[in-house]
């Protein structure tokens, strides 16, 4: 049970319950998830579990020779001759470029003319079984002409005159941008404390346990294509499929079976999906393509390594005056989410602290490595790491506690940042306070024995975006609610349940809005044909977006039921309350009738009740609020509201082996109203362990030729049970009055503070600051050795 259940947040003095929109009965319950039993019994069907009549299997031939090479010739004749092989496919058969951001779309279903990273798909086979398909892939002969391999973004920029990765990027830069607000240089002149640092972040991957899988079935008679896929963005996948297959979206239907995690890695279309569809259209029979784990490592777009230069200035009282941030991102081979991630890193400067002057220069650079993209907390994790570590250093320069410095600069509700980002509500200070008090941070920080340390860091994240990734002003989420005497309450939305629990939370919100119980609601998501429109599960957008649409749809249904009930009860409809499966008069409780009875009467006299609600986010412009001028890329970063959190990590550093053990994490989060506190705690615990791995050991490694050295779980190290720290997660009391049910986000905000909290704790433990993650045992030992030599070399007793 979460902390929420032990408190009575919703009982507010002096306000009758029917007038208190915050007195919830279904929202705020730690109900077990709707899909739990089926998952526990092994009955949930994931894409790879599906078998359709006459289904055949596809496999992708990947380039394992080079990370950058021209394709001179592909000879599939031997593969086609293998018994059991039904079709082959090469990139030139589907050359239309796809990409989630239309302006930078530059991927093809399979490589066309050249390969740009080790493991890129060059051809595909359909065969009667996977074994045959794989054997056929081995028989495909590809002739390559190797090209120089660029693995480092700086080398990539420097050698652009000699070798380019994409024709339309002659400098090997995918995109770059500058954002300048206020007068940064002048502000620095007046600063008392100025710190300049360089940071670097590693190359982790999502590592969801379910590899991508796709089943496609093309009906040659009516030209309809069905695609079942393990995706978190059915809508964007739908669009990309339409582009690559040159078919109208109305002829394609995307359905999500149960999805085994995504964390951003399934937030784009995948080759498996295109290949399954293309082969199915070629053959007129269903085709399944399921990835092996190494294929997931090659193609799932992990986190961008960032090479960051920072300068932060404080006035004599410790108020931030200026931030100067320069970021070079390692894009890998293709654009993907690149533009968005890059500008997110720039936007992260503006919260959760007040920054009156800011300048960011960002560039995202192509390299011959697997493409980077959207990974949990995209664009936030890297700058948050740097900023929170630097604030600790600045606090030390000032001789105050990092807690004091962060409290001093923390934003408050109603804050508008200099880039016009507006925060309607925040309990960030309460997060800092709670985590600090519960962990005993102030008593421990700077006072623990050598080798033991405690570190504090905060963070925030968006609750959905302000814009779609393509030019469109349609609502971002639509929810249809159907109430009838057969199915009861059914919520229809093309959202993606990827394990985060949106179906459960949507059921709770719908039950709350309709005055019924969570158990009465059926939620149908993950189907572009059945559900009303939704953009997908990314940017921590779904609870807010669907909550808004649910509330709208429910309002319409409630009005109709109240009118019906008013007639039956003989009272005015606007004086009726719907709660707890009953409809009653707010003044005369004896005027009451069962909700189900009213539904029956309505259906019998009118027919099924159906209503659709929509959510469109407020569209704030990315402008400089002083000049009012538009700023390039600054529409990215706005959100209807923001979630906030703070983590305090306690670590033991084995100073002889360099191993870092995260012992205890105290977390406090402002997720607005916790619709399902148990689910919130689960998201937070998962987030902490997720980024603890990337802070300490997770790293995709490449050799000098760009060959991926550890595309497996032996050598790419995810945290195990043994690494799990003791975790105390706290949901601070919060209610965003601008949000449906007062909700915000928690799925990505909680990963933000982990890198800097661990890094700050390591500093507290051993007196060495790290500016790079992952912080490996070797780095710790080397740093300790250098520290010792330095101290010995000085000899004056100073430190």
């Amino acid at each position: 049970m979460g902390a929420w259940d032990q408190r009575e947040n919703y009982v507010r003095e002096g306000k009758p319950s029917y007038l208190d929109e915050r007195r919830f009965t279904q929202v705020g319950r730690s109900v077990p998830r709707i899909d739990g039993p089926a998952k526990a019994k092994g009955e949930s069907i994931y894409t790879a579990d599906m078998v359709l009549p006459n289904m055949v299997y596809g496999k992708i031939k990947r380039c394992k020779e080079y990370a950058h090479a021209k394709i001179k010739k592909i000879d599939c004749s031997k593969a086609l001759a293998l018994p059991g092989v039904l079709a082959v496919l090469t990139g030139d058969e589907a050359p239309n470029k796809w990409g989630i951001v239309p302006a930078s779309a530059n991927e093809t279903a399979l490589a066309v003319d050249k390969v740009r990273f080790y493991g890129e798909g060059v051809a595909a086979v359909a065969a009667i079984d996977e074994e045959t398909a794989e054997a056929a892939c081995d028989l495909i002969e590809v002739e390559y002409e190797p090209l120089p391999v660029l693995l480092d973004p700086f080398e990539s920029m420097a050698r652009a005159s000699e070798v380019i990765i994409h024709e339309n990027a002659p400098d090997n830069i995918m995109h770059k941008g500058d954002q300048i607000y206020g007068d940064v240089d002048k502000a620095f002149e007046k600063c008392e404390y100025i710190l300049e640092r360089e940071f670097k972040t590693g190359r982790p991957q999502q590592c969801y346990i379910e590899p991508m899988s796709a089943v496609a079935s093309y009906d040659t008679q009516n030209g309809l294509l069905r695609l079942w896929a393990s995706s978190q963005v059915p809508h964007y996948l739908h669009r990309q499929m339409s582009i690559v297959l040159e078919m109208p979206m109305s002829k394609i239907r995307v359905t999500l079976p149960t999805v085994g995690g995504g964390f951003g890695g399934k937030g784009e279309a995948a080759s498996s999906e295109f290949v399954a569809c293309l082969l199915s259209r070629k053959l007129g029979m269903p085709v399944k393509v399921t990835y092996d784990r190494d294929e997931v490592f090659f193609t799932s777009k992990g986190r961008h390594p960032c090479y960051m230069k920072w300068k932060i200035g404080l006035d004599k009282d410790g108020y931030i005056q200026a931030v100067d941030f320069d970021n070079t991102l390692d894009k890998g081979a293709y654009a993907g989410w690149g533009v968005v991630v890059m500008f997110y890193t720039a936007s992260m400067v503006h919260l959760p602290y007040k920054v009156p002057n800011a300048r960011t220069h960002v560039r995202n650079v192509y390299t011959n490595k697997p493409t980077t993209g959207a990974m949990r907390g995209l664009g936030g994790v890297q700058p948050r790491f740097a900023m929170e570590c630097m604030l600790d250093e600045l606090a030390e320069m000032m001789g105050i506690s990092p807690y004091e410095l962060k409290m001093k600069n923390a934003i408050e509700s109603g804050y508008t940042a200099i880039n016009n980002m507006y925060t309607p509500h925040t309990e960030y200070k309460k997060c800092l306070q709670t985590a600090v008090e519960k962990s005993g941070y102030l008593e421990k920080h700077g006072k623990l024995p050598f080798g033991k340390g405690i570190g504090l860091a905060g963070g925030y994240y968006i609750t959905g975006t302000a814009y779609t990734l393509y030019q469109s002003y349609k609502p971002h989420t639509s929810v249809t609610i159907k109430v009838d005497t057969e199915g009861g309450v059914t919520v229809l939305c093309a959202a993606a349940e990827i394990g985060q629990g949106c179906n459960t939370v949507m059921a709770q919100m719908a039950a709350e809005a309709l005055g019924v119980h969570y158990e009465d609601v059926h939620v149908q998501t993950g189907d572009t044909e059945i559900g009303s429109f939704d953009l997908g599960s990314f940017a921590s957008r779904l609870t807010y977006g669907s909550g808004y649409a649910i509330r709208e749809a429910a309002k319409e249904i409630n009005e109709k039921l109240k009118a019906m009930a008013g007639g039956v009860l003989g009272c005015r409809a606007d004086q009726l309350i719907i709660k707890d499966r009953k409809i009653y008069s707010m003044f005369e409780p004896k005027f009451t009738i069962d909700w189900a009875t009213v539904v029956q009467k309505y259906v019998n006299s009118v027919g099924a009740l159906i209503a659709t609600g929509h959510f469109s986010p407020p569209r704030r412009k990315g402008i400089d609020i002083i000049t009012g001028n538009r700023v390039q890329g600054a529409n990215i970063g706005h959100s209807p509201t923001f979630g906030f959190s703070c983590q305090v990590h306690e670590v033991d550093v084995d100073v002889e082996t360099g191993r870092v053990y995260v012992k205890k994490v105290t977390e406090a989060g402002d997720c607005g109203t916790a619709v399902n506190p148990m689910s919130v705690d689960g998201q937070v615990e998962g987030s902490i362990v997720f980024n603890m791995g990337a802070a300490l050991y997770e790293e995709m490694k490449f050799d000098a030729n760009g060959k991926h050295l550890n595309p497996n779980f032996h050598d790419y190290k995810c945290p195990t049970f043994m690494e799990m720290p003791d975790m105390d997660t706290n949901i601070v009391e919060s209610y965003d009055p601008t949000a449906p049910f007062g909700v915000k986000e928690t799925g990505e905000g909680a990963v933000q503070p982990t890198f800097p909290a661990i890094t700050n704790a390591i500093y507290d433990a051993i007196g060495v600051r790290f500016y790079e993650v992952p912080i490996t045992p070797e780095m710790i030992l080397k740093a300790l050795k250098e520290k010792k030599e330095k101290e010995a070399g000085c000899g004056c007793g100073c430190s």
Partner: protein, 160 residues
């Protein structure tokens, strides 16, 4: 050339034609049709494919099916009680919030079953140590541990 083998899965006997190279996970999933057992890595590193062979947790993605000829196998579908009610371990996983995406869950449940069969009252360290072959990327493990603790309690009450 295929050979016919006998697998006793969840109390039912299946005669299945297999090639020697067929791994148990594929045979259970594709030939027997029990898709509750998952493949997450195919190399024995993630534990999603864990099943019990003669009561012991093994990795079905790196076990040759042919080596299980005549053996008793339990998969996640065989955990529930005969009337379809969830096993206390399954119930605890659901109620404690130990399930998010659910892809690691079948393997987790089978490892937990193997652990509790051998050690009905495991310590926190025992749980962490013996479960560490199962990777979960969603939950951070905490609620899975709690679920195993709850199941251990429930099951020992049942014995009394």
């Amino acid at each position: 050339m295929k050979q016919l083998i006998k697998l006793e899965i969840n109390g039912r006997v299946y005669d299945v034609p297999v090639s020697p190279r067929d791994v148990l996970a594929d045979v259970i999933r594709k030939k027997v049709g029990l898709t509750g057992t998952k493949k997450g890595c195919g190399m024995g590193d993630c534990g999603a494919c864990t099943v019990l062979v003669e009561g012991k947790p093994i990795l079905s993605c790196i076990t040759l099916a042919i080596t299980c000829n005549g053996k008793k196998i339990t998969t996640v579908e065989g955990l529930a009680l005969p009337d379809g009610q969830m096993h206390p371990i399954q119930e605890a996983f659901v109620n404690q919030g130990a399930i998010q995406c659910g892809f690691c869950t079948p393997g987790m449940l089978m490892s937990a079953k193997g652990l509790l069969a051998r050690n009905p009252k495991p310590s926190l360290y025992d749980i962490k140590h013996e479960m560490s072959g199962n990777i979960c990327r969603c939950t951070g493990f905490k609620r899975i541990i709690e679920a195993i603790e709850v199941a251990s309690e429930t099951m020992s009450e049942g014995v009394k």
